[in-house]
């Protein structure tokens, strides 16, 4: 029983760490690159896009989509580890 509670704690910590990392990327893309640094970034262009403008109106949205995919995939892996551990101990 103790093992199960312990694994639950480990699972929760791993979850928090993952969320923290992904939200840092979320903030970096959605706020730092798209808003705070938009003017310096606009000095550079990718194709016909000023870079900061591109992050604000295109890039960040793709980053957001990717973040939710990574979260779902990695959490599914954590779930499996947790369930496997539970089966062994019970």
């Amino acid at each position: 029983m103790n093992g199960e509670a312990e694994r639950g704690k480990v699972y929760w910590r791993k979850n928090l760490k993952l969320v923290l990392i992904l939200l840092s990327v979320w903030f970096l893309s959605g706020y730092v690159l798209s808003i705070f640094l938009v003017e310096p970034l606009n000095e550079f262009s990718v194709g016909g896009f000023p870079l900061g403008f591109w992050f604000a109106q295109q890039g960040s949205i793709w980053v957001f989509i990717l973040l939710t995919l990574v979260y779902a995939r990695v959490m599914a892996k954590f779930d499996r580890e947790l369930e496997d551990g539970d089966e062994v101990s019970s």
Binding site: G8, Y11, W12, N15, V19, L22, L23, W26, G30, Y31, S34, I35, F36, V38, E39, N42, V46, G47, G48, F49, P50, G52, F53, W54, A56, Q57, Q58, S60, I61, W62, F64, I65, L67, T68, L69, Y71, A72, M75, A76, D79, L82, E83
Partner: protein, 565 residues
């Protein structure tokens, strides 16, 4: 065939499809009515969430707003997609694991208090009604422009349709109709965008097209965005891609609005409740991804549409003689949404950033709807856009109506006023509540309060400053108490509501120089949210810790154990 004939054919076919789906998926249980019996596949839920979320505002108004705002339009793009990251990572899996029916359910149980539940019911109903009024109005506008029926009859047709499928099928009917509506609306959005992108730049992918070079005409070979910046300079507007220049919003304001929209999105009950409908926690996470992907498809296309529409509009009108103005101009002129005032009496349309010499007044809402006509696309494409606009408005209205009806029948009656009510009675009450809600929404659609646009800021600000902090803390901090949550929700809402009411209704003359830190009423939800967080945490620290069984609930929702719930 004419645009009108095409529109009738496409709209009637799409309506027949929605009704057919509703009859096929009608329900007999409250679980079916509120949460579709938890049997919705993740990808279908993703589509339904997309349609639920993308309202008449996203479909009809957003690209038009961006078209006039340039860079600053990113507040909508970032705000309304970035909120899904918060939703996916911080809310959806836990609320699914919690596994009840509504948002007030969670607040009431987690904070062991019917007072907290009532505050949540009030917020859910208020937020949803403000939203739904705008949707019914959108339905009316599309009907009147494209089917040449008057706005009021349009609203009534929309009401009857939503009434049939929302009361018959509940959440299940709504979910499958919304999935179909997503398909209709995304096709309707993408086809004209692709056609216009191809026409202007030779690149059929709009997301790349608006960063490409113009294919033909006087600016051939110039990057589209450079051309539009140059046009803006010539006409005296701030450059399209420039960020915080004179005439645009400040950095802090852009930040605050983006944050308020993001957090508001994550706090909107009709979006949150969608994640109750999937079979497991894992499905909730992946369905959040599908939802954002489907939404992102439209949201990455919108800024391209905005740019194309801007260039097209200016190039086809500026410097043209009024007498030889294109046909779409006179079509829309009849609606009063575009106007020409010949100030210098030369008979030529002059468009300018200078208020004194500008002769062209354009309502932002027409940009998406008029875009296919401006680009001279075939009649069936124009008709498709009308069907898409209706799909967007109806799907969102239906989702909101379900939140209202479940807040009344489930949270208010079943959980507080009449707990001994049987399943059959509750289901009947839910249907009645939905029917009444449709009538009220229709009334507001026909007699719109003059402040629909202002009220949207209200809905997001309230959602951001009330629900979001207490749900997050409810999951991530076991120490958060009912006193903390109630105090936090009330202080967040009251602050935000007071600020918006003051600047939007009481003292409308007070401009940006009077705003707190220069933050506009649209962005003040961010401050309200911070106040809510702060108050909730401080009050929780000084009140008695939640009872053991509540702490056990929190422990429990943190672990997935899909097989055991």
């Amino acid at each position: 065939m004419s645009i009108l004939a095409w529109t009738y054919i496409i709209v009637i076919l799409s309506f027949a499809l929605y009704i057919g789906i509703a009859i096929y998926s009608r329900v007999r249980t409250t679980a079916g009515f509120y949460i579709a019996g938890r049997g919705v596949p993740a990808i279908v839920n993703g589509m339904a969430t997309g349609a639920d979320w993308m309202s008449a505002a996203s479909f009809i108004s957003m690209a038009g707003l961006i078209s006039f705002m340039g860079y600053t339009g990113a507040v909508y793009l970032l705000g309304w997609t970035g909120g899904y990251v918060l939703l996916a990572l911080l809310l959806a899996p836990y609320l699914r694991k919690f596994g009840k029916f509504t948002v007030p359910d969670f607040i009431g149980d987690r904070y062991y208090s019917d007072t907290a539940r009532m505050v949540a019911v009030f917020c859910a109903i208020f937020v949803s009604f403000t939203y739904v009024a705008g949707q019914m109005r959108g339905v009316g506008v599309v009907f009147s422009r494209f089917l040449e029926i008057d706005v009021n009859s349009g609203v009534i047709i929309g009401m009857v349709l939503v009434l049939v499928y929302a009361t018959l099928g509940g959440m299940k009917g709504i979910t499958y109709t919304q999935a179909a509506q997503y398909v209709v609306l995304i096709i309707a959005y993408l086809i004209p965008a692709i056609a216009i992108s191809w026409k202007i730049t030779g690149n059929p992918i709009p997301q790349l097209g608006f960063g490409s070079r113009i294919a033909a005409g006087e600016n051939a070979g110039v990057y589209l965005l450079e051309a539009i910046d140059a046009i803006h300079r010539d006409l005296g507007f701030p450059e399209y891609t420039a960020a915080f220049v004179e005439g645009k919003k400040s950095m802090l304001d852009v930040f605050a609005i983006t944050m308020a929209l993001m957090v508001g999105t994550a706090g909107l009950p009709h979006v949150i409740v969608r994640f109750y409908t999937v079979p497991s926690v894992r499905a909730a996470r992946i369905s959040a991804f599908w939802a954002l992907l489907f939404i992102g498809l439209l949201y990455t296309t919108a800024p391209a549409v905005a740019t194309f529409a801007r260039v097209n509009m200016i190039q086809t009108l500026h410097g043209e003689a009024y007498d030889s103005a294109p046909e779409w101009f006179s079509n829309w002129e009849k609606t009063g949404l575009i106007r020409f005032e010949d100030k210098n009496q030369d008979g030529i349309i002059t468009y300018s950033g200078d208020k004194d010499t500008n002769e062209l007044i354009v309502d932002r809402d027409i940009m998406v709807l008029a875009n296919p006509e401006i680009a001279k696309l075939p009649a069936w494409v124009v008709a498709l856009v009308a069907a898409g606009g209706l799909a967007a408005a109806l799907s969102t209205a239906a989702g909101l109506l379900l939140v209202i009806s479940s807040a009344i029948s489930h949270d208010l009656f079943k959980r507080v006023l009449k707990p001994d009510m049987g399943e059959k009675q509750e289901l009947l009450l839910a249907r009645l509540a939905a029917a009444v809600a449709v009538m009220v929404a229709g009334y507001f659609g026909i007699h719109p309060p003059g402040f629909v646009a202002q009220v949207v800021a209200f809905a997001f600000g309230l959602a951001a400053s009330s629900f979001f902090p207490v749900i997050i803390l409810g999951v991530f901090s076991k120490r958060t108490t009912k006193e903390g949550a109630i105090a936090g929700m009330l202080s967040g809402i009251l602050f935000t509501a007071a600020y918006i009411i003051y600047f939007k209704f009481i003292n409308r003359a007070a401009g940006p120089e009077c705003w707190f830190l220069g933050i506009s009423p649209e962005g003040i939800g961010t401050v309200g949210m911070l106040i809510n967080f702060f108050v909730t945490c401080v009050v929780s620290r000084f009140t008695k810790a939640p009872p053991a069984e509540v702490q056990q609930i929190v422990e429990n929702i943190r672990l997935p154990h899909a097989a055991r719930d």
